[in-house]
Symmetry: C2
Subunit: 152 residues, 2 copies
Amino acid sequence: MSQSFTLRPIGFVGSPFKSTSDVPRGLGAQHQAEGELKILPEFELGLTDIEGFSHLYVIWAFDRSEGYELLGKPPTDDREHGVFATRSPYRPNPIAITTVELIGREGPVLYVRGVDMLDGTAILDIKPYLSSIPMEKLKRGWLAEAEARKKG
Amino acid sequence: MSQSFTLRPIGFVGSPFKSTSDVPRGLGAQHQAEGELKILPEFELGLTDIEGFSHLYVIWAFDRSEGYELLGKPPTDDREHGVFATRSPYRPNPIAITTVELIGREGPVLYVRGVDMLDGTAILDIKPYLSSIPMEKLKRGWLAEAEARKKG
């Protein structure tokens, strides 16, 4: 395929995590860390009315991972799974999504809870979180099985 | 910023929608259309164990939109909002997320419900949908206000 897409940062994350080993991982990991989404001044107008949303999708780049693995063991399991069935950073396209809670805004800076990015990570896009799949309709595949094995 | 990221398709969408006017839009639009995520053979191994998940995030490219608008009127409102507070295709980085329900799989093809992409759209990534924000905790900003005005 000759088709390709070139993306550039719209801003950068301010995070307490300086290296990957700082980020909580594995079963039961809590993501309550607070951080900032520092949007570049040229894009600030695009944040208009974002304060009304409680939760946002942040799309960001795994800018410190190299290459990809189609099969790998996630930190939440001791078995291998396909990369598209995990959130592994070693993906064909190194893109991540994190859902964060919006706490506040000062100009081009969004204060959020739930960051799992490293400090300085490139932000590619922000979108409002508009609706949820009800938990009773959600099947969580190998992750639910790994959780059940851990409890059992 | 000189930093940039080049992404390539991991597959293409099979969709009943041939042009943007075919895609349901606006308040109350239902997204129940069925389609296929046709993953390229070289990435098929990355789908291992995906069948266990009921819902997936599909990250895809707005490959038929040009340029961006920091403020715009979405089809769900008659007022302008910032691009990062909407799902507008005219974004600094033309990336979209759609949550789909996984119905089945045949080799490199995923059959899904809830497509809102055009036929032939480039898929950039697929991730499992692992958890939801409870609806009672979700604030939906201008969209909730537009819905209330429509009902009122």
